[in-house]
Symmetry: C2
Subunit: 377 residues, 2 copies
């Protein structure tokens, strides 16, 4: 097993078959999975909390105690994961892996296609949320973990949580889908499609074959700006920016960023292009758009009704990307099948991003739920 | 006066001073205004309804009775404007002009800059909603109209309605701002800024100097797609598209448009580039972003409190670009100053676009309000 200085570990399917069959029917392999772990695995391996990251996240869910700056750097969910926190790493063994199709260590469009010796680019196959979970299952097999105490994640991470319950119900004792949905709505697809079009409109994108040339930075920045608007809310933007001007006493009367909200979006766009791959954005958004656990035949109900998974479903009042009514739809479907479901809509005016932000209510909800799962063993 | 075959008339400031001083302090001129009229002006000129178009509209608010296809083609508000309709052209003399900075006949970035002999492009000055109204005032002066019965418009058109009441309160008897706001919110600015960035990211945009070269079609299409999402609503998109696939029985597993909502957005984007100018989008969105009648000192209140304008304010339940709370803010400000205000929030699930769509409730509201204004003379 490789461990790099950031605390990231790597597992590559080495045994035959080193390929997996994807939902599309295509084959993909070999596949490497980048993952990180926190806390200690108990001897009976009963304390695993599997954290699923959202669209642009990675395996670095929290900082590691380490002298190495890279490993000690802040994680994307430091407020939640750590000793004594909502997901207490003194008690639980946390695993978080980068998703298939991503660009943070797990196989995706940026890595070398063994068939050509060049980065996959658009030759990478379109993967689904089920494919992402399939690959994570391989990682757990490799680690000898037969069941997780809980699988948790928000947004696209929440879709993976739900997919785990459908794909491998016997491996999941409890599940916490946050700020997510059973099926991607037309509105959510629309935003993703415009982000993809922004990237594909950039001549540097070049059909996805840009790795040895100039990157489609302009298109990717616009795509990220669109995303950022959907992560916020009308209220949070009013509070955070209002109509405040950026370093100016009056309007510029040109196309500079007059308002703070404009500077913020431009900054978020330019920051993102330094850390994220444009093709990965295409693949991950497409996987989210394809996500539909309900289908026309109520598939979810049939599969989940055979499981004994306990659920904590959480939504946030100002989330307009995956609004509360979508979580309620999930809760109703689960309850109809006699499953044990707790539901909480948290009052928060910061939009879809609320699940990522420090929130003592969410911390204690999750800590309490996990404790209950352990105690009701 | 020139009249072209589409029914469009043109007025160019011919008398000195042929320039106007803009809010920015810049001077602009000569200025041509494209406008259309419907119905008959009474001898006392007391039956004028001034219609203000929204962002991408034009002077062709309704079709003309004409043998010419161009003049007879549908207008953007045919459901509202015509004989026996909400704005009854058997009773009222309707005037609608293309806005300053637009690209449908009125002076804007596409026309020749007399200083260079080339299209203005980005040398066109940044104009404001007040500048647009200033130019319309010149048109009314030219037509010998001293007062309008009513000024009406939605969205950016609604901003012009409010600006009329502030700039020339003595010339307005009644005002109907629809689906609009007193001040552009951070969310609305954010969407506009991303649309502008999408255009400016297109290498063909070329700093706005593209008229003799390739047009920035890709960037403009993405900008329009962003706009289109904001004009709809979660509910309307669910109803209109849901997750229905486009001409396919299953997913493509590539980056074609799988879903109908994707095809719809792509179509709207490609259609728009055939009729609209990218620089005009920059100028008009900037004018909207600058719009803030309230300011820090409650400017609106002071100016409007000296007027006797009657108001009908209308919002739509699913409009999330200019939500009802923003119309209520306007209503409260007007009432506080003892002005005569009627307010109606119309139940509609089609989002911001609701004001443009056939709606018998809106028709009768407007017809009744106009009748009241005439009778209470």
């Amino acid at each position: 097993m490789t461990v790099d200085r950031s605390g990231r570990k790597y597992f590559t399917f080495a045994e035959p078959p080193e390929q997996i069959v994807l939902e599309s029917g295509s084959r993909l392999g070999p596949i490497t999975i980048a993952y990180e772990t926190y806390g200690q695995l108990t001897d009976d391996k009963s304390n695993v909390v599997l954290v699923e990251h959202a669209f642009s996240g990675d395996s670095h869910v929290a900082s590691h105690k380490s002298d190495d700056d890279e490993a000690a750097r802040p994680g994307w969910w430091d407020s939640m994961v750590g000793p004594g926190k909502g997901i207490d790493t003194d008690k639980y063994f946390v695993i978080c892996s980068n998703i298939l199709g991503g660009c943070m260590g797990t196989t995706g469009p940026t890595v070398e296609n063994p068939a050509t010796g060049k980065p996959y680019g658009l030759e990478f196959p379109v993967v689904t949320i089920a494919d992402m979970v399939h690959v994570q299952k391989k990682l757990l097999d490799h680690l000898g973990i037969k069941q997780v105490l809980c699988v948790i994640g928000g947004s696209v991470g929440g879709m993976q949580v739900l997919q785990w319950c459908v794909s491998y119900p016997g491996m999941v004792r409890a599940a916490i889908p946050l700020a997510t949905t059973l099926r991607h709505s037309a509105l959510a697809i629309a935003f993703n499609e415009v982000a993809r079009q922004a990237i594909m409109a950039d001549p540097n994108w070049n059909g996805g074959a840009y790795y040895e040339k100039s990157l489609p930075e302009m298109g990717l920045a616009v795509a990220r700006m669109i995303g950022h608007i959907t992560y916020l809310s009308d209220v949070s933007m009013r509070r955070k920016f209002g109509r405040r001007l950026q370093d100016k006493s009056d309007f510029s009367f040109n196309f500079d960023a007059d308002f703070q909200v404009e500077s913020y979006l431009r900054y978020q766009g330019s920051k993102f292009v330094r850390r994220f791959d444009a093709n990965s954005l295409l693949f991950i958004t497409k996987a989210a758009d394809y996500f539909d656990l309900k289908g026309s035949d109520g598939q979810l109900l049939n599969i989940l009704s055979r499981s004994e998974i306990r659920f904590l479903v959480v939504s946030f009042t100002s989330d307009w990307l995956y609004p509360t009514y979508q979580s309620r739809e999930l809760v109703q479907a689960l309850k109809k099948n006699g499953l044990d479901v707790s539901f909480c809509e948290i009052e928060a005016d910061c939009g879809h991003d609320a699940f990522l932000l420090p929130n003592t209510r969410l911390d204690s909800l999750i800590a309490g739920f996990l404790k209950g799962v352990v105690e009701n063993d």
